[in-house]
């Protein structure tokens, strides 16, 4: 078991290295001078040279990569070109906000997804199943940024029940656990929950149907086990995989929140990424993507380990 965990962690290291390489290459894929956005058009050659040295753009690419990665390991992701602030600081403040949003969305999605999945799996091939399956197809087919807009139209513009944008009253970017702030979370979290809901509903439906069709369940029923007893067995069989899918979905949402955050002006990583792209703030772009991708890799490792602890049948090669 410990060997399995160690191997899984060791395997993640080259992946993370590759991820860092991709993030670094992204910046150098970008056409044009990375300094163009900060330099005044009439900047002297001297100033240009100075700034170039300051940001390290004058060195060779491998040199830049390794110094960047070495500093990244110690937690230093460089300085934002646009705001001149530490990228690490900016990213982690945004990650906190995105994490709040994505966690709530995952929980909502997990709850309703499991509910639909269970109902569909239990009443397989009935009208209820078809309805639940249709909802889950809708969940994965709907452009979530559009759903966000529709919810804003209904609940903010028309009914005026909830705020349309922002993470707190008066455009505050700092989160607090009170109703004034929570109100802002409702619409984006519901919007975001639609994706994991569809996927979890599909997974749970298949697992429930499989489990119910297994012989040991039929045997248990024959022995006179109550419906609740059967239900407990089904939950025990479904839970590890469903939880694993939920964990992975959280990772997807963290990285995939940019469109929803743009719709709701939510001050998270997506919002940060958006401004980094349009201000051509390459260190910030590179740092944000790196943090999100590494987060995703680590979450994958964690999910694998948890899943194999919960369900010993998972193969450990």
């Amino acid at each position: 078991m410990i060997l399995f965990i160690l191997r899984r962690i060791l395997y993640a290291i080259p992946i993370m290295f590759g991820v860092a390489l991709v993030c670094f290459s992204l910046v150098h894929l970008a056409p044009g001078d990375p300094l163009v956005s900060v330099l005044p058009p009439d900047a002297s050659a001297d100033l240009q040279r100075q700034l170039r040295t300051l940001y390290g753009f004058d060195r060779s690419l491998p040199e830049q990569f390794f110094s960047w990665i070495l500093r990244a390991v110690t937690g230093d992701l460089g300085t934002s070109i646009a705001s001149s602030r530490s990228v690490t600081e900016e990213v982690f403040r945004a990650v906190k906000n995105t994490l709040i949003l994505a966690s709530f969305a995952t929980m909502i999605g997990f709850f309703f997804g499991s509910l639909f999945g269970f109902v569909a799996g239990y009443f397989r091939d009935t009208f209820v199943d078809k309805l639940a399956s249709f909802i889950s197809v809708m969940g994965v087919s709907i452009p979530h940024y559009w759903l966000g807009m529709v919810l804003v139209i209904i609940f903010a513009a028309q009914l005026n029940w909830l705020p349309a944008t922002g993470a707190g009253p008066g455009g505050s970017a700092d989160w607090a656990w009170d109703w004034a702030h929570m109100r802002h979370l409702v619409l984006p979290a519901i919007t975001m929950s639609v994706i994991p809901m569809g996927i979890i509903a599909r997974t749970v439906r298949a697992l429930v149907a499989d489990t119910l069709a297994q012989e040991f369940i039929i045997g248990l029923r024959a022995k006179g086990l109550t419906d609740f007893g059967v239900f407990r067995h089904v939950v025990k069989n479904v839970a590890p995989t469903a939880l694993a899918v939920m964990g992975l979905q959280l990772g997807y949402l963290l990285g995939g929140s940019i469109l929803i955050e743009t719709v709701f002006s939510w001050p998270g990583t997506g919002f940060l990424l958006n401004s980094a792209i349009f201000q051509r703030d390459l260190p910030l772009l590179q740092g944000t993507i790196l943090v999100l991708a590494i987060f995703f890799v680590l979450l994958n490792v964690l999910v694998d380990i948890l899943q194999s602890t919960l369900d010993p049948r998972i193969t450990r090669q």
Partner: protein, 296 residues
């Protein structure tokens, strides 16, 4: 036993030909009602994309300051007008062209490139397989939305760059599917038998591998079209794809965001189109999958 090797020519002429695999798939597909409805919707959308410009009720580019944001049902503007007074109905119809193009092209390119790489990896095995699949793993470490936006953000806005980014996003998953299907086929005895007949890798892949792997890879690729539609429109929505004044649903959704308090339902229309398209492609893909998923 009589060892006569020649048989009468008449019997050669009357060879009974069994219906092939694909005609069975097609028959099953025709019987699937949901898939057929989806197919009809997709067909209408494709026709709009091809011929939409010739049947629009008005000029989709003609703006008018006086006719801005007219409500749905206005005389002459069945679906109202947008923030620059252009006819929504015409723009939605013509928008099908760029939207479908931006959604389908990346999957098509990724299908071609990803299949080639995946089949090579799956057929050769060994260190080449390891090298390719580990690289794919690295790309799997990025959620697809993040990768698409990061790539097109780095490359800069524009149709071409958006297509490149989306293609790159879909190559790794297609490659993974192609690799695993090919590795399965490669272990079958008929591939061994073909090798035992002295055929080279190229001939074996052409005759014995492609016919058995392209179907499953293609079905998987069609399931990506819905995702691709949403992502491509999403890029335009963020301002990273199609540029104004071209009609594209994602971009229209973006520019109409200012109208959600005045003409909310017009603002929501382009998104509805994206939704209809993506759900139709999803159901089409599901239908294709179940039509092909038969015991052989």
């Amino acid at each position: 036993m009589n060892a006569s090797l020649s048989i009468p020519a008449a019997s050669v002429a009357a060879i009974e030909q069994s219906p092939g695999y694909w005609s069975g798939v097609f028959k099953r597909f025709l019987r699937d009602r949901v898939a057929m409805i989806a197919a009809v919707v997709v067909l209408v959308l494709v026709l709009l994309a091809l011929f939409g410009t010739y049947v629009t009720p008005a000029d989709p580019y003609q703006s008018s300051m006086l006719k801005r944001l007219k409500p749905i049902g206005t005389e002459g503007f069945l679906l109202g007008t947008d923030e620059l007074g252009r006819d929504m109905m015409s723009r939605l119809m013509v928008g099908a062209r760029l939207s479908l193009f931006m959604g389908i092209t990346p999957v098509l390119f990724a299908f071609l490139i990803g299949s080639v790489i995946g089949i090579i990896a799956g057929y050769t095995g060994g260190w080449l397989n390891t090298a390719i699949m580990r690289t794919v793993d690295v790309f799997y470490a990025f959620p697809s939305v993040l990768l698409a936006i990061a790539l097109s953000g780095a490359l800069g806005a524009g149709i071409g760059n958006a297509l490149i980014s989306l293609t790159l996003v879909f190559i790794p998953p297609i490659c993974r599917v192609a690799e695993s299907v090919t590795a399965q086929v490669r272990s079958r005895d008929y591939v061994e038998a073909a090798r035992a007949s002295g055929a080279n890798a190229f001939a074996i892949i052409k005759t014995h591998v492609l016919g058995n792997v392209l179907g499953p890879i293609f079905v998987y690729a069609t399931s990506l079209i819905a995702v691709s539609m949403i992502l491509a429109s999403g890029l335009s929505f963020l301002g990273l794809g199609v540029k104004p004044p071209e009609p594209e649903w994602g971009l229209m959704l973006n520019t109409l965001r200012t109208a959600i308090y005045t003409q909310p339902w017009i603002a929501a229309l382009p998104g509805l189109m994206i939704f209809i398209t993506s759900i139709s492609f999803n159901m089409l893909s599901d239908g294709l999958r179940s039509a092909m998923d038969v015991k052989q």
